[in-house]
């Protein structure tokens, strides 16, 4: 199965969280939930250079990622994409990723409602992001898919 299969693109367009498994330089596993965008044939996961996900990708480019549509679909399917990843910090990628992330997660009814109902936390969120920026650059984990597969549903619950 290829990433340009309509069923795969359908899941990638509707899924909101990517759960990315990585290995450290010494082979220790990790898995982290990240925001992602699938746009113009790019699969980009947003994070920061100091995070375990980004540091692991720099040490070992192999990744395995789970995607699923979060709710409201009887035909619950989980998609796993395995491949190679790299950490991108260039401005052009950052700008495109930020714009797509803004459209997907913030400038939507659910995103706006989430911010409005937590308005008291906006200052803390800005401080949290500033604190992250002091630890390292924001980055994008770019994934080149090598294997794409659907897994059986019905696991949760």
């Amino acid at each position: 199965m290829n990433i340009d299969d309509p069923a795969v693109i359908n899941i990638l367009r509707r899924s909101m969280i990517a759960r990315i498994a990585t290995l450290s330089r010494t082979g220790r596993p990790s898995i982290n939930p990240l925001y992602f965008v699938y746009w113009d044939n790019h699969l980009w996961l947003g994070t920061a250079e100091w995070t375990l996900a980004a540091r692991n990708v720099k040490a070992d480019s192999r990744v395995s990622i789970l995607f699923e549509v979060e709710q409201g679909h009887a035909d619950h399917q989980i998609l796993r994409i395995s491949g190679r990843a790299s950490v991108r910090t260039d401005q052009e990628v950052q700008r495109s990723n930020n714009l797509q992330t803004l459209r997907k997660y913030i400038l939507t009814p659910g995103g706006i409602l989430n911010y409005v109902t937590h308005i008291r936390l906006l200052q803390a969120m800005h401080s949290y992001h500033a604190q992250s920026a002091q630890k390292g650059l924001a980055c994008v984990i770019e994934v080149i898919p090598e294997q794409v597969e659907f897994l059986n549903s019905g696991l949760q619950g």
Partner: protein, 125 residues
């Protein structure tokens, strides 16, 4: 010195273990890292995990793994429990899918977070 944290005590996220929204596992196998959805049961503070028998790869006994339970889509709703531990094979718990391989994750380190609790704390480091 103060810092902003998202981290919370595990007790605040226990509902994620009682009504598991998403549970998945990471472990190393011959081709690299493997991300695998799992069935999770939390019984008597033990993390019991089932992987479909037909899954291509299974973690070995006493292998280091990370178990992730998470929930939420929008920023302030994001919550998770991240458990690094080692696997211990167990017999299939009663009332669970029979076509799964079961093991317990014995925790080495647990981190729990909730972005809806972002707050300033005293930095002790």
């Amino acid at each position: 010195m103060k810092r902003i944290t998202r981290n919370v005590e595990l007790v605040y996220n226990r509902d994620l273990l009682k009504r598991v929204p998403h549970a998945c596992l990471s472990f190393a196998c011959s081709h690299g890292p493997q991300a695998q959805p799992v069935v999770l049961l939390w019984e008597d503070n033990r993390y019991l995990m089932g992987i479909p028998e037909h899954a291509g790869y299974q973690p070995d006994a006493d292998q280091e793994v990370v178990l992730l339970v998470d929930d939420g889509v929008y920023f302030f709703d994001l919550r998770a429990i991240y458990i690094r531990g080692r696997t211990k094979p167990i017999t299939t718990p009663g009332g669970t899918p029979a076509d799964h391989m079961w093991c317990e994750v014995a925790p080495l380190k647990t981190v729990s977070w909730d972005y809806g609790t972002l707050r300033e704390v005293k930095d002790e480091h």
